[in-house]
Symmetry: C2
Subunit: 222 residues, 2 copies
DNA sequence: ACAAATATTTAGGATAACCTAAATTTTGAT
DNA sequence: ATCAAAATTTAGGTTATCCTAAATATTTGT
């Protein structure tokens, strides 16, 4: 059962949509806009994925991954994230530069390659954006994380992930001086506009984070 | 100018055929058998590669890469061989296990990735089979190597490459105890059948190499 | 509950890359 | 030089993946 890169991208999109929104079903228009294809093309492909038993599909009523489809999705996510770790840790790419390359690498077919890459990288638990890497069994160790904007003054926490993966946002975060897995503490929150002042423990500096930015920042409370 | 993996494979095949045979032109049947496609399909594709100015093509008279096609070919070869080094040196694959994976990886599009991979691997000059890796400018540093079966008794040399890349042959070489870049010396050659007795300097052992095998072994004379 | 708006599917086509069978060109043996 | 064999190309067809336009189903506001 080798699937085409196109099929894999549909599977991944269905996974991402349902998983990130926490819903059962993804619908045609969502897939259409995420994949930059016309809805008609999506409809087409959904029928084929259904025949291959990768999705549950009832016309006009959205799709859901089958067990089989889910496991394909997880393996692609695993590969994508492992390659991102490789690109950042070994090849010194910045975290905002790796997405498109990993989009290609995730389709390389070789179980052995993934196993060895995982080992080479010392079995990382999360990718450069803090997203969890499914283990070889497909088990995802989700962190207990919350959005920074829901935290209170004096809370101490670790910056553990982002909810937005655009170049612009990622560069903004880098420019603020925030680095993944760093310990931070909320010094002050402006009532009026929700501006958050944060101390970065490693360098004793304080920075100011707008509430929109904060809503895309995930932290683990200590 | 991004080319499809299929187009790249045609370019690579044309390069390999002309280069390895030392001839100007490759013909349709050769390509057909190397690519496992029917001659009619090859003919089809050649017209398209011609329109894209990747090859010089006159119907019924074979093909030759243009400057542009040649440079595409070299970049693919470069990527293929760099990835092979990565797979062997970093992920501990054996030299007979890396070909199919590298066939996929060579189509990943990102100049920056190749540059960084090259650096990460310390700018290797040849791949795990001894084939030269074109540098970033596309310059190939060919070694002055000869087939082992053309050498004389008492010659000292370095095992520097193979002319056959099948799993079986590569494993045979490994089983003999030969490793790339090792110093060896010819102890004796049997007149009757060309059997060559070779001393491997590193371990003081002597081994016996059949003449067919020897004809696929490349060495640099010292 | 029903029409308008929205979402989705179907119908009919395009393109890349393959195929088989038939036609054409080149080659090579006499 | 000629003609059969071999090589190559053309013609016509298939599949995967996409498209536009038209048809149909669902949802939503009143």
């Amino acid at each position: 059962m080798p699937f085409s890169a196109t099929e894999e991208n549909y599977i991944k999109a269905i996974y991402a949509l349902t998983h990130s929104l926490g819903v059962e079903h993804a619908n045609t228009n969502q897939l259409s806009s995420r994949l930059n294809n016309k809805a008609a093309s999506v409809s087409d492909m959904l029928q084929r994925l259904f025949e291959k038993k990768l999705i549950d599909y009832k016309k006009y009523h959205g799709v859901k991954l089958t067990k089989k489809g889910f496991s394909v999705a997880i393996q692609i996510v695993r590969k994508h994230r492992l390659w991102e770790v490789f690109l950042v840790e070994k090849l010194n790419f910045k975290w905002d530069e790796v997405h498109e390359i990993a989009e290609q690498l995730e389709h390389i077919q070789s179980e052995e390659l993934v196993k060895r890459l995982d080992k080479f990288l010392h079995f990382p638990k999360h990718d450069p954006h803090g997203d969890p890497i499914p283990d070889i069994k497909g088990i995802v160790h989700e962190l207990k994380q919350v959005e920074l904007n829901t935290c209170k003054v004096k809370n101490k926490m670790i910056f553990s992930g982002v909810k937005l993966h655009t170049k612009e946002f990622l560069q903004h975060i880098s420019n603020l001086g925030l680095k993944l897995r760093e310990k931070i503490e909320i010094i002050h929150i402006t009532d009026f506009d929700g501006l958050i002042e944060v101390k970065i423990n490693s360098n004793k500096k304080t920075i100011h984070i707008g509430s929109k930015t904060a809503s895309h920042i995930l932290v683990e409370l200590l």
